[in-house]
């Protein structure tokens, strides 16, 4: 029982991180109709930037040797880089690809992926780097009174989950409450209309991609500090894809709920079903889960229904 709950909580915490990345997808898709495969590359890129800046800053200015200062500055710099990426993407590619097929846009983002992978490793090197933002590594034991031996929770996961939750909440608020957020939603609903009432499309897109960059950075930091910054980070995004479609491409709540469902489902399946199939099933389980769900509800949990008009 305790073990089950441990797994459950582990799943939930992992799920929050999925939600975080899924949110990156949803933001961009809502605003620009682009299914951004480069999200994973952005995570890696951001993490690399963060890791390397944190390493370089003390070397450049010994005065800033203090790890906290260094990390904060590095984070700021990395964020700046991600904004630059967003601007470049909009100016150089998206603005020239408006009204293209969804598939074409998707291909374009694959192009970004190649570019970012190449650029990241060219600028920041291709070894394994570590990010140390002072995440506590030691686990805590809770609810000993309830269960024999209690429930073991990794503080690191806990904190990251908390950060993710906060971030997700903020973004949700940002979308629902602020003027920019409303503008974003307007654009998402109808590009032409949004433009006609004077919402500057390019600005909006830059903002969205920057936000996505920010999300990617945070995700990168959390994952990076857990697994170390290396190429495999970019694969984390693939884990978020089933989340996105499960929740519905256009829905923020969908991204959150979907993340949790997948996170939990993945962990439980790995432990309770995996052994029967020879293990390692979590890589595809999430997808099959999403797939089966879509068969019931093609537009995902919270996505809009499509009606044929002829």
């Amino acid at each position: 029982m305790a073990f089950f709950i441990e797994t459950l909580i582990g799943g939930l915490m992992a799920g929050m991180l999925y939600s975080l990345i899924a949110l990156g997808f949803v933001l961009i898709y809502k605003a620009s109709g682009v299914f951004n495969f480069a999200q994973g590359a952005m995570v890696l890129f951001a993490a690399l930037a963060m890791a390397r800046f944190a390493e370089w800053i003390p070397q450049w200015v010994p005065a800033l040797a203090n790890p906290i200062v260094a990390n904060v500055l590095a984070f700021a710099l990395a964020l700046g880089v991600m904004v630059l990426v967003a601007i470049a993407v909009e100016k150089l590619a998206l603005s020239r690809l408006v009204n293209q097929e969804g598939i074409t846009l998707l291909m374009a983002t694959l192009g970004f992926t190649y570019f970012l992978d190449g650029l990241g490793q060219t600028l920041f090197g291709n070894d394994i780097y570590k990010i140390d933002v002072g995440m506590p590594k030691d686990p805590v034991i809770v609810a000993e009174s309830l269960f024999q031996g209690g429930i073991l929770i990794s503080k690191e996961d806990l904190y990251s989950a908390l950060i993710a939750t906060v971030l997700v909440a903020l973004l949700a608020l940002f979308f629902q409450k602020t003027a920019t957020g409303r503008a974003l939603r307007a654009v998402a609903d109808d590009h032409q209309a949004a433009q006609s009432i004077g919402i500057p499309l390019s600005t909006i897109w830059i903002i969205v991609w920057s936000v996505a960059g920010f999300v990617a950075l945070v995700a990168g930091v959390i994952w990076g500090s857990k697994l170390g910054v290396q190429f495999s980070l970019s694969l984390v995004a693939l884990k978020a894809l089933p989340v996105v479609i499960l929740g519905g491409l256009t829905s923020i709540p969908g991204a959150i709920v979907g993340g949790l469902v997948i996170g939990v489902g993945e962990k439980l399946s790995e432990i309770y079903i995996g052994p029967m199939l020879g293990g390692g099933i979590e890589i595809w389980f999430a997808y099959v889960l999403a797939l089966l769900f879509l068969l019931v509800r093609p537009q995902g949990l919270f996505g809009e229904k499509i009606i044929d008009r002829v």
Partner: protein, 354 residues
């Protein structure tokens, strides 16, 4: 400019509906085939055959298959690599388990298995559309990767899905020399291209395109979505599966699941998009582009005598590759086949602009 169509009139529907109605085109095609089947094998250096032409042909074949699904039926799939894998491993099993089974038969069996898997993973397309479907097809990709890695019977017992074949024969002829491999692949590519062309210009092809262009109208004129979509998945998966078999047997010889991972799926998708959705020649053009581009990019530093480390050059390659992809999508979203078509149109009207 080179066209002299005056006087080429058609007095039967047969003549009117042939694949290349214009005489000049037929001549050009004949020359092309002659070059490909006779001149190239005799003259081309080993490296060209082994490292460029063979992969080019096999990937063209796979792209051809994928194009039927994506370009003609409008169903996006990111799981192509998986179907190649199924084809390759199934063919391997056939060879390994059935004594003295002819290579061609094994390859076709591989294709058949891929068809089955393709149809299974095609079922969702009846409910799911567009990007949802695209992502859903990744399920196939990861599931097959996993299966090849973990399930013993898939790899006929070999560790971690790495298998190898040797001593290939076709009609008693050894498939060892690059030239023989090249000719085998070429024959497959040509035959399948012809069959595919016949399909897309027949009733079934029109069903697919109708589904793609306006599914409601298609249904109203009596086209069954189930039939149209699943046949597209089946045919596509079959061709892709056979290509997978060739990739494993003829090109690699020894391989593991990674040879058919998600990057392969993306690569093939690039080929059909850049080559041109909904055109048979598109697959070949796209494959040529995607195969040659990286090679060219890697060669470039050497040609310019730039001191670049291999790691660095591979990074630069992927950067430039990415940029070129995006650039290409911007300038010609309809692909090389469209470019070719417009060029041909111009030549036919020359000296008039339109």
């Amino acid at each position: 400019m080179f066209y002299r169509e005056a006087g080429q009139f058609k007095s039967t529907y047969r003549a009117d509906q042939q694949i290349l109605p214009i005489r000049q085109d037929r001549v050009a095609m004949a020359l092309l085939l002659l070059t490909a089947f006779v001149i190239v094998p005799l003259t081309a250096p080993e490296y060209l055959l082994r490292a460029i032409l063979v992969p080019f042909l096999i990937l063209s074949l796979a792209a051809l298959g994928l194009n039927i699904l994506v370009g003609y039926c409008g169903q996006i799939s990111l799981g192509t690599g998986a179907f190649m894998a199924v084809g390759a491993y199934a063919a391997y099993n056939a060879q390994a388990r059935i004594e003295g089974l002819p290579l061609i038969v094994s390859l076709l069996l591989g294709g058949a298995c891929a068809t089955v898997v393709g149809v299974i993973f095609g079922v969702p397309s009846l409910r799911i559309r567009g990007l949802y479907l695209a992502v859903a097809t990744l399920a196939a990709q990861f599931f097959v990767d996993w299966a090849a890695l973990r399930l013993r019977f898939v790899t006929n017992g070999s560790e971690s899905g790495s298998v190898s074949v040797s001593g290939l024969h076709v009609f008693g002829l050894p498939i060892e020399s690059p030239a023989s491999k090249y000719l085998l692949c070429l024959s497959f590519a040509v035959v399948f291209a012809l069959l595919a062309k016949n399909l897309v210009r027949s009733g079934i092809g029109r069903e697919w395109m109708a589904m793609r262009d306006m599914d409601v109208a298609a249904a109203v004129i009596g086209i069954r979505p189930v039939h149209a979509k699943l046949t597209a998945f089946a045919v596509s998966a079959f061709i892709v599966g056979v290509a997978g078999g060739l990739w494993g047997f003829v090109h690699l010889g020894a391989w593991e699941p990674a040879a058919f991972n998600i990057d392969r799926s993306f690569q093939l998708l690039f080929m059909v998009i850049i080559g041109g959705l909904g055109s048979i020649s598109g697959g070949f053009l796209g494959a040529a582009f995607i195969v040659l581009l990286p090679i060219a990019l890697e060669r470039l530093p050497q040609l310019l005598h730039l001191p670049v480390s291999t790691a660095m050059s591979s990074h630069l390659t992927s950067m430039v590759f990415g940029v070129l992809i995006v650039f290409f999508l911007i300038v010609e979203p309809h692909g090389l086949a469209r470019l070719w078509a417009t060029a041909k149109e111009k030549l036919r009207l020359w000296p008039f602009p339109h």
